[in-house]
């Protein structure tokens, strides 16, 4: 480890970002802050470009949250490089602190206390010294799996059995069993069946709460798939997992976060 350890800070409040950088400068002088960005998309792009060793991600940022940025980074990370250590930064009420503890995630609370940050720094140094290749990503995915559901709304008792989708000037009735997959598009969700597609105005999160989780699986941030429609799962040349569906030519991508659903028995 003759080259310096590098870090990226993603925080939308400039003073808090500067404060975190200054505190890290005191507690960890040999750490180089290679980028400081104000929103999730920039965090993703800069992290991919600079490949720092450590990421400090604020949870609540405009555009993408810290959790979403981390998840997308895991999707797009080149397999050859060691994955960065991720530390989440959160205001006291952004997420249940309990959830972070349960997920064994590294997190610091705002306002950041020296003592707490010093402990985080010690842990990071230990892990960076004994880093197995790819271990960082597995650890992060493990944490995200525990964290992401914690932020989803609780499942509602009433189950959706019929989708009512406006197509042109008619309302099309789609039995839930006919749906191959749901795909998030901005403010809408695209409902894909064997014989067509229709848009409904809802969020994937809300939809998920009304679906039977034994049939419908979330396989990506933006995709829920009908497990009965999955013909096969395969890895492409980049090591990314995709699904082949019955009755549709297109492939559905699986986020590393949900890859465990398709391991062989």
């Amino acid at each position: 480890m003759n080259d310096k350890t590098t870090a990226l800070i993603a925080e939308d409040e400039p003073i808090l970002a500067a404060t975190l950088a200054a505190t890290l400068g005191r507690l960890w002088p040999e750490l180089a802050i290679v980028a400081s960005v104000g929103h999730g998309q920039a965090a993703l792009e800069r992290a991919l470009a600079l490949q720092p060793d450590v990421l400090f991600l604020d949870i609540k940022m405009p555009g993408k949250t810290g959790l979403e940025a981390a998840e997308e980074l895991a999707e797009q990370w080149p397999g050859s490089k060691p994955f960065p250590q991720v530390v989440f930064v959160t205001a006291y009420d952004d997420y249940a602190v309990q959830a972070f503890d349960n997920a064994a995630a590294d997190y610091v609370l705002k306002p950041v206390s020296d003592e707490r940050l010093a402990r985080t720094v010690r842990r990071l140094k230990e892990r960076l010294g004994t880093r197995p290749a790819g271990g960082g990503m597995d650890a992060l995915l493990e944490q995200l799996r525990a964290l992401v559901p914690a932020t989803a709304p609780a499942a509602r008792p009433e189950r959706l059995s019929l989708i009512r989708a406006a197509v042109g000037n008619q309302v099309r009735m789609i039995p839930i069993g006919d749906v191959l997959y749901f795909e998030a598009l901005d403010k809408y969700v695209n409902v894909v069946t064997c014989d067509g597609e229709a848009l409904i105005r809802t969020s994937l999160k809300e939809l998920l709460a009304q679906l039977d989780e034994t049939c419908f699986w979330q396989v990506h941030r933006g995709t829920i798939v009908n497990s009965a429609a999955v013909l096969a799962a395969q890895r492409d040349e980049l090591g990314k997992l995709t699904l082949q569906l019955r009755g549709r030519p297109e492939k559905v991508r699986v986020s590393p976060l949900y890859a465990h659903l398709f391991r062989q028995m």
Partner: protein
């Protein structure tokens, strides 16, 4: 306090008073109550005719005659009165006098004939106009009917007055409840721990990074806290004070958001002293930031303005953020707007309103319209 006075036209169609848009059904219950009073009156009349005018005999005959005359006169007078004016409006006295006249004559003539039929006797002297006996009886019927009518209408007036007083009381209570609720919400929302925490986190950072700026930020925080506390206890505040409070709040937010937030104020000199209920602008400014600007990467600009439009005061908070259709920018029920609307409707009735619309140049514009006291 002039400003909090509720005028009568605000009373008629307020958010709290039930709107009188649909025609009321015929007041059968009132008619039944009146009929019960009539029965008592008929017995009294029969007693008077039998023992005061007569020789104390034939009470039942007189009771039957009284009942016939009274019922017909009553049916015509009270029936028409309730049909035309229901039981909530006062009839015009001339129209009512004419109605009593018709009712009395018809009651006397038809009632006496009916009584004659029932009793199997000829009561010519009671229903032929022009005979002395008929005139005397007519006068007696007129007096009793007039008296009864006066009794009914005055009692109705009393009931109307009681209803109005009850309505007024309900309004006053509702306003008090609104004020109390608003006060509680102020204390909860304004000194919201979340906002305070974030501000303190910034302050903590600034103390090390830039002590002079930290000092300025602390001054703004003190001004904001003092403002929210004092205005949550006051009945009214001036526009100048309300704007100063928003300036402190936006100043704090601008420290947090850095270059992502700019803001400006437009308060005409003539309106600086105008009194308004406290903390009306706060929820609107908070919404503009939380739902309009904070979720966007670029941030934007907030303008807080006041202007006079004839006899109305228009306060507006404009932002160039995501616009009103973008959905909530953060968790939270959008209560700020609804509460503010309820609050001004309770205070000023239908003449006040709170609206949220898309800003033609992008973003949202939230407006509060209040009636203004003429100079």
């Amino acid at each position: 306090m002039r400003y909090l006075f509720i005028s009568h036209d605000a009373m008629t169609d307020s958010a709290i008073a039930a709107p009188a848009a649909t025609p009321r059904p015929f007041p059968w219950r009132r008619l039944a109550l009146d009929a019960a009073a009539l029965a008592v009156l008929i017995v009294i009349c029969a007693l008077i005719i039998t023992y005061a005018f007569g020789n104390g005999s034939q009470f039942l005959r007189n009771l039957a005659i009284s009942a016939c005359i009274g019922s017909i006169a009553f049916s015509i007078i009270d029936g028409v009165r309730l049909w035309v004016w229901r039981d909530e409006r006062r009839p015009h006295w001339l129209a009512f006098a004419a109605l009593v006249g018709v009712g009395v004559v018809a009651g006397q003539v038809l009632g006496a004939r009916l009584a004659g039929l029932l009793l199997g006797m000829e009561l010519r002297e009671l229903h032929t106009l022009g005979t002395t006996r008929t005139s005397g009886m007519l006068l007696f019927t007129l007096l009793t009917t007039g008296g009864a009518s006066l009794y009914y209408t005055s009692r109705d007036r009393l009931i109307r007055a009681q209803a109005a007083a009850a309505q007024e009381k309900a309004r006053a209570e509702a306003i008090e409840r609104q004020a109390l609720q608003a006060q509680l919400q102020l204390l909860q929302a304004q000194i919201e721990p979340h906002m305070l925490f974030n501000t303190l986190a910034n302050l903590q950072g600034l103390i090390a990074l830039d002590p002079a700026r930290a000092q300025r930020m602390l001054d703004q925080l003190i001004q904001f806290l003092r403002g929210t506390l004092s205005s949550s206890r006051a009945e009214t505040t001036t526009l100048a004070q309300e704007f100063a409070l928003q300036e402190a709040y936006l100043g704090l937010m601008a420290v947090r958001m850095g270059e992502r937030l700019t803001y400006s104020f437009d308060l005409p000199e003539a309106l600086r002293g105008q009194r308004i209920p406290p903390m009306l602008l706060q929820p609107l400014v908070e919404n503009a930031i939380a739902h309009g600007l904070e979720p966007t990467i670029a941030g934007g600009h907030v303008t807080v303005a006041a202007r006079r439009d004839g006899d109305r005061l228009v306060l507006s908070v404009t932002d160039d953020g995501r616009g009103p259709d973008a959905g909530p920018g953060k968790e939270g029920t959008n209560v700020g707007l609804a509460n503010t609307r309820e609050r001004v409707k309770a205070l000023f009735g239908a003449r006040a309103d709170v609206t949220l619309a898309a800003n033609p140049g992008g973003g949202a514009i939230a407006s509060i319209v209040l009636p203004i006291d003429q100079p």
